[in-house]
Amino acid sequence: MNRLRLVLLAVGGTGLAALLVAACLGLPGFGGRSHPYGARAVHASLTRHTANTIASVNFDQRAYDTLGEMSILFAAVLGCVVLLRQARDEHRAQPQPAEVARPVRRYALIVLPVALVTGLYVVAHGQLSPGGGFQGGVVAATALHLLYLGADYRALERVRPLAVFETSDALAVSTYLVLGAAGVLAGTSFLANTLLPYGTFNTLSSGGTVPLLNAAVGMEVASAVVVLLANFLDQAVEIEEEHGS
């Protein structure tokens, strides 16, 4: 059985490898000068006063795809919440406070506010410098979890009321949708970046709706990561199987 599988894998793998190499040889050379899509994306981004072209692609030119991406994230979080719920034969144990080494506690608590502010900065400057809602949201959400390292699980639970984060996750997705629908009501099309003035190039308020969509995504990603990690941590720390049932 296992030998058969390995032989099958070897045959299939060799065939796939040959096809991939043939495909690679047919691609335009690495580092070439011709990037027609890239050149047009850069031009469109500059005409709409968005300094970070990638933010412009994500939240303006391909804003509709980002909506799909957000929905995937939202659905995955929903799936995880359903999969990791407390089952009938399990109960919730009170997490025990544990001793934390003093240097760990000190540095975790020093870094926490710095990391949180960094995350918010990255979200807010998404249209200007590298970063944006996705990256900043992850940084801000993981910053909160330094409290788990520096103090204990109960302290973390106090600063992240799950219901609030679940609600803000849903609210952020709706905000994105509403911003898209506002374009329709204003007489253009869904998620078209024509709602707001483009502003002065390279300032915080430039780029039309890009900073707003960026903030909505940042809020969604931060809440989604908090909810996800909370569900996994609950499994590890709080939820235990009933014994003798």
Binding site: R5, L6, L9, G13, L16, A17, L20, V21, C24, L25, L27, P28, G29, F30, G31, G32, R33, H35, Y37, G38, A41, V42, S45, L46, A51, N52, T53, I54, S56, V57, N58, R62, D65, T66, E69, I72, L73, A76, V77, G79, C80, L83, L84, A87, L128, S129, P130, F134, F201, N202, V221, L228, N231, F232, Q235, E241
Partner: protein, 116 residues
């Protein structure tokens, strides 16, 4: 050779991940292998967008037109790719957690025997 090497690296990473997936004896290891497969697409996308001597397509500290920039479209696609990869990994890990609880094993071969 240099003009196809990054593409070949992507293909190599993908095949390595496939090999790991097919021979995996542990579902968590298999999820890791899937992440390896996915990371090959990051290499491929970024390699497609690269241009010799170009810099990042961010104009906050760069005068437009003064230097060539790499393709921003594939960079945005890579970002999408990473986000989707992370969500898929989270969902799969949650599934494995439930499988481990219900069946007491994370070996795919033993799971098949359980089902009969």
């Amino acid at each position: 050779m240099m003009h196809v090497l990054p593409y070949l690296v992507a293909a190599y990473i993908f095949l390595t991940g496939c090999y790991g997936l097919a021979t995996s004896r542990n579902l968590i290891h298999a999820i890791g292998c899937l992440a390896v497969c996915q990371s090959s697409t990051y290499v491929l996308l970024l390699a497609v967008g690269y241009q010799d001597g170009a810099t990042a397509p961010v104009f906050s500290d760069l005068r437009p037109g003064s230097r060539p920039v790499v393709d921003p479209v594939v960079q945005a696609l890579t970002l999408t790719d990473i986000v989707v990869g992370a969500t898929v990994t989270a969902l799969l890990l949650a599934l494995v957690l439930q499988i481990a609880k219900r069946h007491g094993t994370v070996d795919p071969d033993e799971l098949r025997e359980l089902r009969g």
